[in-house]
């Protein structure tokens, strides 16, 4: 049995108040996308904003599942419907075989880690973590043991008496995690939980979150707009765009075989070859993408191998990134390709001096990824 099954989930914001749109949605027309999660209103009267336009999804028990997409793509709204903060306009939410579509949040066996952490400012860390157990009337001795365990898991033992205001962002984030996990939910929902942290802390927390998920063995549903985060942490991920899922698969699937032009662009760098340049370079019509790290920069006079595709062009821009350098190459056949090269033996001076140089790009033909036009 899947942990979660979403069937034809649709959410409109605004429009005529108090009227549920006809069931069996997914064919909602009109202005798609544009709704920031959880902000109804603001639209013209009687014209609904379609935040989620028909989601069908099964999430396996114990899986680390990410919902990836730009803001306004419907990922947060979908998460909020699973949590019970938003009522779907149409469709069903089934949690471990039980239809919870019309249940309030406090009757669902899920817990949420909020983007702004939502710690209660008038309670200590210990009281915050104990909150869920207290309102569910877990006896005090058991409560204390479980709170201590949860705080140990997030490496905050001994912080019980502090106030949330006295903690750093990373520590608050951990309290929020402990407060959710202490209830032992079967599904944990995380709404961009690392969004407010700086890069270094974020990378540490990614590893920690993944370790905690494996330790407790429950389903994590993780909403993020950061493709790197989604790729490094997830067992599977769904790429959201305009209220729909564009692609569903493992990180390797999504990165190496993007189903649509949008996915190719959003996950990784958009390196698209279309029309004439595709015909000239690859020899067939259609749209192709080549990941920038698969491309080699060679001397324009060099001859490519038999299994290689090749194109000539001029380096239009050089971006020095420290370990790597990114070259933007204007192709003679039309269009542009981004190439990243590790700076194994190149100094920054050499890299930057390459601007304006004529080069040949080569890559293995197997790295030409055909992309649908969806």
């Amino acid at each position: 049995m899947p942990a979660i099954r979403l069937e034809g989930l649709v959410k409109h914001f605004g429009g005529e108040p108090g009227r549920r749109a006809p069931a069996g949605g997914g064919t909602a027309g009109g202005g798609v996308g544009g709704a920031a999660g959880g902000s109804p209103g603001g639209s013209a009267q009687n014209e609904a904003i379609v935040a989620v336009a028909g989601i069908d999804l099964e999430i396996v028990d114990g899986e680390f599942f990410s919902m990836l997409g730009p803001s306004g793509s419907g990922k947060t709204t979908t998460l909020r419907m699973i949590a019970g903060f938003e009522r779907p306009t149409a469709g069903r939410i089934v949690l471990h075989g039980r239809d919870v579509t019309d249940l309030p949040p406090f009757e669902r066996d899920v817990n949420t880690v909020f983007q702004d952490y939502a710690l209660f400012p008038h309670m200590s860390v210990g009281e915050n973590v104990a909150y869920g157990l207290m309102v569910r009337k877990v006896p005090r001795p058991e409560r204390e043991v479980r709170v201590a365990d949860a705080l140990r898991m997030v490496r905050l033992e001994g912080y019980e008496r502090r106030r949330p205001g006295q903690l750093s962002g990373g520590q608050r984030q951990r309290v929020a995690l402990a407060r959710a996990l202490v209830n032992r939910p079967r599904v944990l929902l995380l709404d961009e939980p690392l969004g407010a942290l700086d890069l270094k802390l974020r990378e540490e927390m990614q590893i920690e979150l993944k370790a905690i998920q494996q330790a407790v063995g429950i389903t994590f549903i993780y909403v993020t707009h950061d493709q790197e985060e989604a790729l490094t942490m997830s067992d599977r991920l769904a790429v959201f765009n305009r209220g729909r899922i564009e692609q569903l698969g493992t990180p390797a699937d999504v990165y190496e075989r993007p189903a649509t032009r949008f996915v190719a662009g959003f996950v990784g760098t958009s390196n698209l070859l279309t029309g004439d340049s595709a015909r000239a370079i690859i020899g067939s019509a259609g749209t192709f993408t080549v990941r920038p790290e698969k491309i080699h920069l060679v001397d324009p006079a060099a001859t490519p191998g038999p299994d290689e595709a090749s194109a000539t062009g001029t380096i239009r821009e050089v971006v020095y990134l420290g370990p790597d350098t990114r070259y933007i190459v204007a192709l003679d056949a039309g269009g542009e390709l981004v190439v990243t090269q590790q700076n194994l033996a190149t100094s920054s001076m050499e890299a930057l001096a390459a601007k304006g140089r004529v080069v040949r790009l080569t890559w293995k033909r197997q790295h030409n990824l055909p992309v649908g036009d969806g």
């Binding site: 406090f106 939502a118 400012p121 909150y131 209830n183």
Partner: protein, 282 residues
């Protein structure tokens, strides 16, 4: 004036010298004279207060004459009653404004709450006087139920009218503190298993409490000091009435000594309020 430019401290001092000087001389000076007055002697023959003629007579009569004690207790109880009444009425209104009403309704309600503050104090009290007095609207409404109108000598009239007058001062700070509670806290509470009632008791109420205390500073101190309303709608005396009567005809030192009582009560009240975090809700 360019020489002033790098001298930020001097700039600030010059800027503030006027207002602070005014405040120091006029306000604190008046308070100081009030304080001194309480320790001066009144010439019983001419009725003149003799400056620097030190005595504790005024405090002595406040303590020994029972009626002053009764009036002091009556005033404090009234202030507590009015504050409690306003808190009970204001909370649901503020809650509706902050968390339930649509943006449009909320705007209208804020105007509705602020509007009475634009009307003259006396106009409002006289309006109540008209409502309450014999053969007035209140009597018309109560008569069919066989209840007699209160007339203009009930102490409860003071309670009713003061509660009405100070209600906006209670609604606004509570509204502000309720509006400041992030929606995600309520969602988190619900997410962690709390029903609406539990969320209200454990999250909303504690976070709005500083707002209630902030509002109570107004309702409590305004009630302690008021003497016009009690005079107009009832025949009962409060601290303010005694001070007023004595400052014109009776003993000025007694009036001064008596007025130190509400000042002392408010100092204690403000210290407690600060501890409860009320000043962050103003």
């Amino acid at each position: 004036m360019t020489w002033l430019h790098p001298r930020r401290g001097l700039q600030l001092r010059l800027l503030l010298a006027g207002p602070i000087g005014w405040l120091g001389v006029v306000y604190l000076g008046a308070l100081l004279i009030l304080l001194l007055n309480a320790f001066w002697t009144k010439d019983s023959f001419t009725g003149r207060v003799e400056p620097f003629s030190w005595t504790l007579d005024a405090f002595d009569s406040l303590i020994t004459v029972e009626v002053y004690r009764t009036i002091a207790i009556r005033t404090v109880v009234m202030a507590i009653l009015v504050t409690a009444t306003d808190a009970l009425i204001a909370f649901p209104i503020a809650y509706y404004m902050a968390r339930i009403a649509s943006a449009r309704t909320r705007g209208l309600l804020v105007i509705a709450v602020l509007m009475p503050l634009w009307a003259a104090y006396l106009a409002k009290v006289y309006a109540w006087r008209t409502i309450i007095q014999g053969k007035g609207p209140l009597e018309w409404v109560l008569a069919p139920f066989g209840i007699a109108g209160p007339g203009l000598d009930e102490i409860a009239n003071t309670w009713l009218v003061l509660s009405y007058l100070w209600l906006p001062y209670m609604i606004l700070p509570i509204y502000a503190s309720l509006e400041r509670i992030p929606g995600s806290l309520l969602e988190a509470s619900s997410d962690l298993g709390a029903r609406a009632g539990s969320t209200f008791r454990r999250v909303i109420l504690p976070l709005a409490f500083p707002g209630v205390v902030a509002g109570s500073i107004f309702t409590f101190s305004l009630t302690l000091g008021d003497y016009i309303t009690p005079d107009l709608v009832s025949d009962t005396k409060f601290i303010g009435n005694v001070i007023y009567d004595n400052s014109s005809l009776g003993s000025l030192p007694l009036a001064a000594a008596y007025s130190l009582l509400p000042v002392a009560i408010m100092i204690v009240y403000l210290l407690v309020a600060r501890r409860l975090g009320a000043f962050e809700s103003l």
